[in-house]
């Protein structure tokens, strides 16, 4: 006896039961089909997103920072509201952020004493609803705190971008979290230029986990002046410089 083919309405119902994530939320697309297609249209706006450097090096940390700064910059450009950057560290360099699209007028900095205070500040700010995005740098974030942030972000419909720093415990994405998506970013060598000099930064962006989606990994080019990423152009045969060659611009 042949099994009855599943009817489309039945399929929808089954999908709703299997995947309880509501799909009618606001999305903020990256503007890159390769990325947005795998994310079902873009990052969910009202959610908690985590990014962590792939290794403990400062270069990967900077890449993860700029990855989140780009998301926040695009939110700020769309809404006109400021971004709240909550960090207990003092090494963030505002001129560098401005070159990723977060101008000085777009960012309000908060400098809490420790991670617990940072989480409280971020939650207060999200519940206030004034900023267009909240960027939070923390190393130790318990599961309960991420769940609270995720719920608050969903209520306020604004993204909370959590930059997980590497503590002594190794990979921060190994800890449980209620974040909607978790990213691992690392800096990779840039495309060789036909002239001397350093090319556009290039990162490996790896989606380690996403609610209701699959993990993937992409090599992307870093933020431009408006915070947008790009897919590297396919290398044209013959333009590659020989490996190990030194390029410098005087």
């Amino acid at each position: 006896m042949r099994p009855t083919p599943l009817q489309p309405p039945f399929l929808d119902r089954l999908r709703a039961v299997a995947c309880p994530v509501p799909t009618d939320h606001r999305l903020s697309p990256f503007g890159i089909p390769a990325l947005d297609g795998r994310l079902d249209g873009g990052l969910r706006s009202g959610a908690l997103h985590e990014a962590a450097p792939a290794t403990g090096s400062l270069a990967d940390d900077a890449a993860a920072t700029l990855f989140l700064a780009g998301v926040a910059a695009r939110e700020a450009a769309d809404s006109g509201a400021p971004v709240l950057w909550v960090s207990a560290r003092t090494d963030l360099y505002a001129p560098g952020l401005a070159q990723a699209g977060l101008a000085a007028a777009d960012v309000i900095y908060a400098e809490p004493r420790d991670d617990a205070a940072a989480l409280a500040v971020a939650e207060d700010a999200v519940r206030d609803g004034t900023p267009c995005a909240v960027v939070l740098e923390a190393s130790r974030v318990p599961m309960v705190a991420t769940r609270r942030l995720q719920l608050a972000a969903a209520d306020a419909d604004l993204p909370v971008l959590l930059l997980r720093r590497r503590g002594r415990g190794g990979d921060p994405l190994g800890e449980p979290s209620a974040a909607w998506s978790r990213w691992r970013v690392s800096a990779v060598p840039s495309a060789p230029l036909p002239v001397a000099g350093v090319g556009r930064p290039r990162w490996t962006v790896e989606l380690a986990r996403r609610r209701g989606g699959e993990a993937f990994s992409l090599v992307l080019e870093g933020c431009d002046a408006t915070g947008r990423l790009a897919v590297p152009a396919a290398a044209v045969r013959g333009t590659d410089a020989p490996a190990g060659a030194f390029r410098a611009a005087a």
């Binding site: 090096s57 400062l58 270069a59 990967d60 940390d61 900077a62 920072t65 700029l66 990855f67 006109g80 509201a81 400021p82 709240l84 003092t90 090494d91 963030l92 360099y93 505002a94 001129p95 560098g96 401005a98 070159q99 990723a100 101008a103 000085a104 007028a105 960012v107 309000i108 900095y109 908060a110 400098e111 809490p112 004493r113 205070a117 500040v121 207060d124 700010a125 206030d128 609803g129 004034t130 900023p131 267009c132 690392s186 800096a187 060598p189 840039s190 230029l193 001397a196 000099g197 350093v198 090319g199 930064p201 290039r202 990162w203 933020c223 002046a225 030194f246 410098a248 611009a249 005087a250």
Partner: protein, 587 residues
């Protein structure tokens, strides 16, 4: 006689060996004449004047003989019209005696000035300046008497109402500037409760000097005393030895003891009684049993003594700005839970906002005072970065503070005062009319965050016109709108201090390093951009006159992009020592 019976036994004055005996029977002058003052035979074997003075100075103050006993016949007699010194004080001579009347701040080179007012049916002097006091004029003297004594006397009518008004204004200034709890003590004093506020003014000594400097700039002289209790400070400010007296914690008893009894704010009857019974200094009151003391001086005097020494509480009625918008709720039953406190806060804010709206004001800071049933007071304050009268926003700020209210056995009275207000007119509804549901005001966000981490930890970063990377960004007010930076490539993380690189291989002067070691790891450079030369700012520091740095943005083999610099331009040695440093990290 009576005095000797009542007060503590005092040592009898020692009989002094006098250089010249008054007794004619024991006269040492040889008969037959030849006496002249200061003759050598008369001086020999007797202590000279300096020796006597030394011995007199070594005696305790109460035992010193008056000058007349030293045999000086030409001693100036007391002026018959210079009254004011009562009998008790004229018995005590010597410089160590504490002042009996309140100290007067003397202004040099001023004409003698007295204030005259009608007391009863007579014009009397009610205040004297230092010069006038030195001329023997005293408070309580008849005006005609004073004029007869000093011909060029500047005599002006007293204006107690104007004085009180001035004192009130000064108190309000103190509330805004020094401490929230200030009380006026007419006719000439202010009490400032400095508990928990001293560190804001640089410590106790500096606070006193700042306060005096403020008064001096405003044209007033002031005496400041700082003590554990208001009563002690009151006494020391008026009868203390110096213009600024700071009593260390626990030193109240020692500081107050030598002061005259009048410093205790006694009424005239009690003062008269104290004089009759021979109580001169506060120290005289201390050993006396409470019962007899109360019977002689009255219960009020005992209470004043206790208040000065800290044994009895002294309520302070703080000055409040009558013009400040305020709201008050007295509850039928004391409350203690967070929900009920939040409810009262919301009610109070409703009242306050209505008043602010009626006056066209916005609040910058609001203080809520909650009184407990046991008399304690709980104080909660919020501040806003911009004038506001949005009850919902203010309530959110207050809700963050509820946990700091200690209800104790219950709170029964709440008052809310907008201590700092600014004009706030109607605001345009542009965004709302255009269809935007949510009004986004950064000031509101700043208030919420500052409620958690403090006003200083919320900021924006503004550009500064400089090329030195450490100096291009400064923190500014969180509600300012800063400009932008020039678009030179800049790292996203800048190390607080540049970190030195070792084992650098580089071609001088215009090439980035080929390899460098940083934090123990060797990095091979594959590409570099630069140099970007940054000169020292000679107008800031002498050390930067010739200094320069050459910055490179380099990419290493593993993919990291770093911002390196070399001190010096590679040609001239006085621009730097050619050491290499890592300053920032690009993404």
């Amino acid at each position: 006689m009576r005095r000797r019976e009542l007060s503590a036994p005092r040592p009898e004055p020692r009989v002094l060996e006098l250089p010249v005996d008054d007794d004619p029977g024991a006269c040492s002058v040889p008969r037959g004449g030849g006496w002249r003052p200061g003759a050598r035979w008369a001086r020999d074997g007797l202590p000279d004047r300096a020796e006597v003075a030394r011995r007199v100075a070594a005696m305790p103050a109460h035992a010193r003989p008056p000058m007349r006993e030293l045999g000086r016949r030409s001693e100036a007699a007391e002026h018959p019209f210079r009254g004011g010194r009562d009998a008790s004080s004229s018995e005590r001579s010597g410089a160590a005696a504490p002042p009996v009347s309140p100290a007067i701040v003397t202004v040099p080179d001023a004409a003698p000035l007295v204030l005259v007012a009608k007391v009863g049916r007579q014009d009397k002097v009610v205040a004297v300046c230092g010069t006038a006091a030195a001329l023997g004029l005293t408070v309580g003297m008849a005006a005609t008497h004073a004029r007869a004594l000093v011909s060029d006397l500047d005599m002006r009518p007293a204006e107690p109402e104007a004085d009180a008004g001035l004192l009130n204004r000064l108190a309000l200034l103190a509330v805004r500037r020094w401490t929230p709890t200030v009380m006026v003590t007419p006719p000439d004093g202010l009490w400032l409760d400095l508990t928990g506020a001293v560190h804001l003014h640089g410590g106790e000594e500096r606070f006193c000097h700042r306060l005096r400097a403020l008064c001096r700039r405003a044209g007033y002289t002031a005496r400041v005393a700082l003590a554990d209790t208001p009563g002690a400070a009151h006494a020391l400010a008026r009868y203390g030895a110096d213009d600024v007296v700071v009593v260390p914690t626990g030193g109240t008893l020692a500081a107050v003891s030598p002061l005259p009894v009048a410093s205790l704010r006694l009424d005239p009857d009690a003062l008269g009684a104290a004089r009759r019974f021979g109580f001169e200094a506060v120290a005289d009151l201390l050993p006396v049993a409470r019962g007899p003391l109360a019977r002689r001086l009255g219960l009020a005097a005992v209470l004043r003594l206790d208040q000065a020494l800290g044994a009895a509480a002294e309520p302070v009625t703080a000055v409040t700005d009558p013009a400040a918008p305020a709201a008050e709720r007295r509850l039928l039953e004391p409350i203690g839970t967070a929900e009920t406190i939040a409810q009262v806060m919301a009610d109070l804010l409703g009242d306050l906002v209505a008043e602010l709206r009626a006056r066209g004001l916005g609040a910058r800071s609001i203080v809520m005072t909650a009184e407990r049933v046991d008399g304690g007071e709980q104080r909660v304050a919020v501040g806003t970065s911009r004038a506001t009268r949005d009850a919902e926003h203010l309530m959110r700020l207050f809700r963050l503070r509820i946990e700091r209210v200690d209800p104790g056995l219950g709170l029964e009275r709440f008052a809310m005062v907008a201590t700092l207000t600014e004009p706030l007119d109607a605001t345009p509804l542009g965004a709302v009319l255009a269809g935007e549901v949510q009004v986004r005001d950064p000031a509101r966000l700043v208030d919420v965050v500052a409620g958690r981490v403090g006003q200083r930890s919320v900021y924006r970063v503004a550009p500064v016109e400089s090329h030195v990377p450490e100096r291009v960004a400064v923190r500014t007010s969180s509600v300012a709108a800063p400009g932008s930076w020039p678009s030179w490539p800049r790292p996203v993380r800048l190390l607080a201090r540049p970190e030195p690189l070792s084992r650098v291989v580089a071609l001088l002067p215009d090439h980035p390093p080929r390899r460098f070691e940083w934090r123990g790891a060797m990095h091979a450079v594959v590409a570099g951009d630069g140099p970007e030369r940054v000169h020292g700012e000679w107008w800031r520091r002498a050390g930067e006159v010739w200094a320069s740095r050459d910055y490179w943005r380099v990419e290493v083999e593993a993919g990291g992009r770093y911002w390196l610099f070399r001190r010096g331009d590679g040609v001239r040695s006085d621009t730097g020592d050619l050491s290499w440093w890592l300053h920032g990290v690009f993404a």
